[in-house]
Each structure stands twice: as C-alpha cells, then as structure tokens.
Symmetry: C2
Subunit: 423 residues, 2 copies
C-alpha cells in the first residue's frame, strides 16, 4: 500500500518520540522557582517564611461545611451540573455588590463579572485574549511570578519596571512607554498588584494610580489590577482601586481597566474561585478563551463562595480576625528583625498583606544567604526569583502569615545567625 | 518632558482602544455553536435533544453532601488550602486503581496521573505542551467540539478524518498521514473518543485500536484517547482502552499514548475534576502548563471526588442506575424514531453513552430541519456543528439522557411533523 510505504519511509530516520514532540513554548516554560524551592525547605524543624499561604488555622472549615450543606439542599443538582461559562448568577451578584461597596472596582452590573478558576486563570485568559507572540506586557519588578508565567506562556515579551515603597515607578514606566512607542511596540497590558504587592508588600500611591490611568488612556493599553490582598489592610486607610478611579473619568481609561479578584486570601484558596471585572469589548474574548480552557468553574465551589461572601456578619468578623492575626505576626516579625538582625536588614512599614520585603544592607547575595539559612533552619525566597534582571539579588521575601509570633522571633534569630556566618 | 512628548505624539492618530487590542488568535476563536444554539432552545415546552448533559435527577446530591462533610471533618484546612499542581494523592490513587481495574488505561503508579480541571483542561494542556502555531492535529469528523476549540486555540491546524459505525476510519487516517509526511508536517496529536463518541455514538473497533497504535509508533505522534463515556456502556462487552492496549507493546506506542478521564458523566460535571494519564516525558510539560493556567484544581472537589469514587458499593449501584436509565431512554428514542419518523431518519445501534446520531435519509439539510423543528417544539444539534467540512449536513445529534421515555416519544413525533413540513 502506498501509504504504508510512505509511512515506513518517513519513519526510517526514527520516528519522533518523547521530548522531540514538545512545543517550543513548552520547552521555553519554566517551573515556578518557588515551587521547586519549597521542596527543599520541607524538612522537620524548618521555620519557613518562604511560602505564600494564608494561615491554615484561619481557613473557615466550619463555615464552608455549613455553606456546602445549604448549597446542596437549596440548589440540588444545579450545583453539580454543567454551568454557564460566565459563572453562577449568585456569585456574580455578590462580587459586584462587594466590589462597589469596597470601591475596589467599578461594576455597572453583575454581568460585568466573569468568574474564573482562581485569579491565576484571569491572568491566563487575559494573556490569550490580548497577546500574540512578541506582544509586550509590562510587569512590576519585582513582581508576582504566577503572572510572569501566565504572560510568558502566551509568547508575550515581558518588560519589568522598577517599584519602590510607593509601588510601581510610574515615571520610569513613562520612559519605558516612550521607548516602546518609538519602536512601534506599545504594550498590550500593564499589570500591577496595587495593594500590598507580592513580593514587595508595597502599595501604589494615589497620585501614581491617577497617572497610570492617564497613561492607559493616552497610549491605549489594558491596565490590569490584580487585587488579592486589598482586604488584608490592617493599618491605614484603603485607596480606591484602579477600576473605581477609572469610572470617574471621561478619557477612555474605564474601558481599558480590568480588575482581578479572588476568595483565596479572604475565604479559601482551595475553592479556586476568582473573577475578572472587565469592559464590554473584552469580556466576550475572555469567555471564549475560558470555554476552550475549562468550560466553566465548578458551580459547587462558586455557590459555596457566594454563600459565604453573602454572610456579611461572618465575613466582617472573619476578615477582622485575619487582619488582627496578620498585624500581630507582621509586627512580631518586624520587631524580631530589628532586635535580632538589626541594621543588617532593611524593611519598610508593613500595613497589610502577607509579605515583608527585606534588603540585605551589606549588599550580600540573598541566594548565598538562602543556602546557609536552610542549614540554620529558616527559609525564605531570594529576591532574584521575582525579577527579570538582577535587581533583587540582595532582597528576601518573608511571608509572615503561617508562623506564630514566637516562631517568627526564632526565625529572625536563625536568620541573624545565618547572616553572621555569611559575612 | 521627552517621554510625555513621545507619548502625546504617538497618541495623535488615536490610541488603540477596545477590540483593536485583541490578539489575532482571540479574533479567530469562535464561540461554541452549541452554546449559542442552546440559548435559542431555552423556551417553555421545548423538548430538547440538543444538550449534552447527564440526567440531573441522577446527580448524586446526597452522596456528595455526605462526602463533603467527611472530607472537611477528616482533612480540615488541607481541603481549603493551596495544593500541589499534580493533584491530591487520594484522588490520584483511586483513579489509578480504577483505570487499571477497568482496563481503560495502563497506570504504572499514581504519579502517572495528573489531575485536571475537567477533561477539557486536559485537552488545553496537551495543546499547549505539544502544539506550536501551524502544527497539525488530527481529529475525528464529526468530532467533539470542545477539543476542536482547545486545539485551535493553540494555533494548531486541524485535519478531520471521517468516522463510520466502527469509529475513526483508520484506513483514511493512513492516507492522511501519508500526505502529511510527504509534506513534512506529520501531526503532533491524533485525538479520538474511542467509546460512544460525541456526537456519533460510535465505538472504535478493536482491530482499529491496534492499527492506530501501530501508526502512533511508526509515525511518532501523541495518541490521545478521551474517555468520558466508556463507563456508560449498557449493552455488549467493553473494549480495552488505547493506553491499556499500548502497555502490552514494545514498539514505543505506550510512551506516546495519553488517556483523559473525568468524573463528569459518572459522578458530576460540576466538580470539574478530570485527569490525564500520560507518559513520563510529557507529564512535566503538562504540569508546567497547568501551573500557569490555574495553579491547581480545587482540593475540595478533588477530595470529594476521591471519597465518592472510593465508595465501591455506591459507585457500582450508581453506575448501574445510570446505565439502566440511559438504556431505557436510548431504546425509547430509537423505537419512537422508528415508529414516528420511519425510514426518513437512519440511526445505528446504541450500546452506551449519551448520544444518538441520525442521518436524514432524504438528504435534507439538518440546519433547515432545525429551524422548523424548534417551531414544532423539539430541538437537536445539526451535524454541521461537529464537522470541519460539510459532511455532517444531513446529520442530527440527539441526546437522550435528559428526557423521559414519554417525552422522547413526543419529541420523535414533533420531529416527524417538522420533517414532513420540510419535504
């Protein structure tokens, strides 16, 4: 048979097996450095500041149990059946209400809300909807690794812009945009975590928020605000979110601003429930991408999330408990670093979120420190993991949420020992 | 300021707003025809054979409720916390055990199993891991729409190969491969639903399964078997899955065969729990893609699925109930079509699954029929929706799972009226 002959001939140099079949972009993809590093630090007795998990003892197991019982009793098969790609109406309603209430994001109506399988999926859907290979995405440096992975997976070219204690250096962004425009490659997306950024803990100042919206309107890029930590403010006054600020403008910025949210840090990451609040022209493209990706998010976990979020009494007490616990831990870590490590490490004020960003004042390499630190029984994530260049080499991300004040004191003490042994 | 000047200059022709920012692949993506069509048929009194949903009254609401209570009591915060990308050990274990038991897929160890957010995500991850834009994927024609969407989203070039009552025409596949090899573009993936295919209901004959494995080994493509319906056989003997057959061979086919599974049709689609059983060289690429996509699948729904699947007594009784209900409905539909429509529609034997594939014997257009049928109060999906060419124009997909035998009789009668009015 002719076919069999051609197939046999073609297979003569050896059929392509295994890794030769992988896509170029798959070969280029990297695993999360943090994920690989967490395997190293999973040892008995290790005090880990390396994770980025909410405090497990604050996960509302009992409330989720009663919510699930209510959902299954009320909605029956609907909670277990196929569901609309856009999300369950109950969840979209309560997300819209809460977002408008907290001034995190302007929502005209519940239909503005697209439910996602965690906010990580929101990043992936935005990358697919907006980026062709080679398109430019501007990210914060240091910045959230999961976002870098999602954007890179679409073949986008990532450009990092520095941050300081007031968040993204918008003046530096202007220079970068200038260069990109001259080169004919303005960015498709500028991505920021404006509240208590991961890893720097910095919050974007209000004047910079306005200037960022100016730039979005003038240049025409999609401004994505990812806000997992805004509700975890335990000191100071909250700032309005970018989509809320955009709503008051008539320069087109509101049609270019997307807000990503999640229940991961306020209820549970294990529900995998997030959302994207996006303008009308963009939402259908996100929905099409989501259809191809996972059809829809679990209606069961969506309805559980809606049930818990709608319980205002529970949510306000629960958030207060998270905030007071994290404040106590952040303060314990800051105090212990001051007393145990002293001027060898510099940190800024911590007003919320889950992370403390330290700088080794002597300019030591945080990666070198990491290696002696794990032997001393304390772990963190070296700053290099969050940067596209080497600007994070003397930085450490310290997550304070999962250790007690005593353990945080002990961790600081071990860090001090490790740092002494290094210098 | 220089920057502001450049930005102002660049924005003079008008900044890019809205749809101009969408990616090329997003613009090319289409929404599911079925999804759009389902909006049309959602009318009071409509008898719909158009869906593709499991019977809602058979969704195990009570068993899921007790399973959830057990999971939250046993695992506590672990069910609500971040979790490994690969999936929860409990679920991977029971999936491995059940797959080996049913001879659907060879599993060496639980680590071979990657948990996915429904099997739709398995398709998306395979597309990302294997396909660069322009790479060829061979699909069945007619074939599962969700797969076409997932592969197309990666920029792959889809080539359809015909099916008949014994599934994929492997002889035709050989000819297609011949041409592709000569052109220097052998496929990366050949995708089949070997049991009770959606939409044709056909099951791939055993000799064709072996020939397909021969071709995979000789040409070197990844053979993906998606098996949502295999457990829904209500007549005849089950055939071994492709990965199970591959395990007995020494030609490399086992390292090229992937099995996708899901709890959607046997427990609940709303849990969004599926899995990919894949060779060692491919799994890390799937895991990296999943990290960027949604970090991990909900540990809560994974543990619920594991709890229910591990209850052998429940599962065997539950599956028996699904099978007997679907058999009764399939037979009722087949009988009613024979008595009401008669020779105007041809259907094959239905031995399992959820679908009956009909052909209008007079060569009428199923899309024309659809328009008069919805006025007559009955809906189905025209065959064109499942084909890359016009080979499905006289075909209808009839889903028999969600109507009672009486309703199915009534639906056939309305279909007959619609068909008469057409000719």
């Amino acid at each position: 048979m002719g076919n069999a002959h051609a197939i046999a001939a073609a297979s003569r140099p050896g059929p392509r097996h295994g890794a030769a079949l992988l896509s170029d972009r798959s070969r280029a993809a990297t695993s999360s450095i943090i994920r690989d590093l967490l395997l190293l630090v999973d040892r008995p007795g290790m005090l880990s500041l390396a994770g980025g998990l909410p405090a497990p003892e604050l996960l509302p197991v009992d409330r989720v149990a009663t919510a699930t019982a209510t959902v299954l009793a009320t909605h029956g098969p609907r909670s277990l059946q196929y569901a609309p790609t856009e999300g369950m109406a109950e969840l979209r309603e309560i997300v819209a209400t809460r977002a408008s209430h907290a001034a995190t994001a302007h929502v005209e109506q519940a239909e503005d809300v697209l439910v996602t399988t965690g906010s990580q999926q929101g990043l992936d859907l935005l990358a697919r909807a907006l980026c062709d290979p080679g398109d430019v995405v501007v990210v914060e440096s240091p910045g959230y690794l999961g976002a870098l992975q999602a954007f890179a997976a679409s073949g986008a070219r990532l450009i990092g812009v520095a941050t300081d204690a007031d968040g993204l250096r918008v003046d530096e962004l202007e220079q970068v945009l200038d260069g990109l425009i001259v080169a004919g490659t303005p960015p498709k997306i500028v991505y920021v975590v404006a509240n208590f950024q991961n890893p720097s803990g910095a919050t974007l100042a209000l004047d910079r928020r306005h200037r960022l919206l100016d730039l979005a309107a003038r240049v025409g890029f999609v401004l994505v605000e990812d806000d997992p930590y805004g509700a975890l403010r335990f000191r100071g006054e909250p700032l309005a979110g970018l989509r809320a600020l955009a709503a008051g403008r008539d320069d087109g910025a509101s049609g270019l601003t997307v807000s990503l949210g999640t229940v991961s840090k306020i209820v549970s990451p294990g529900l995998r429930v997030g959302w994207a609040i996006a303008p009308d022209w963009l939402r259908p493209a996100l929905v099409r991408a989501k259809q191809a990706t996972d059809l829809h998010t679990s209606p069961l976990t969506q309805l559980i999330a809606a049930e818990v979020l709608a319980d205002e009494g529970f949510m306000s007490a629960h958030l207060e408990q998270i905030r007071s616990t994290y404040r106590e831990r952040a303060d314990a870590l800051a105090d212990a670093l001051a007393s145990e490590v002293g001027p060898g490490i510099e940190i800024g004020a911590i007003d919320g979120g889950m992370f403390c960003w330290g700088r080794l004042a002597g300019g030591e390499s945080a990666t070198d420190l990491f290696e002696v630190a794990i032997d001393a029984g304390v772990a963190f994530v070296p700053g290099d993991a969050f940067c596209l260049d080497d600007s994070g080499r003397s930085h450490l991300r310290l997550c304070f949420t999962t250790l007690t004040p005593d353990e945080l004191g002990q961790a600081a003490s071990r860090l001090s020992i490790a740092l002494s042994s290094l210098t």
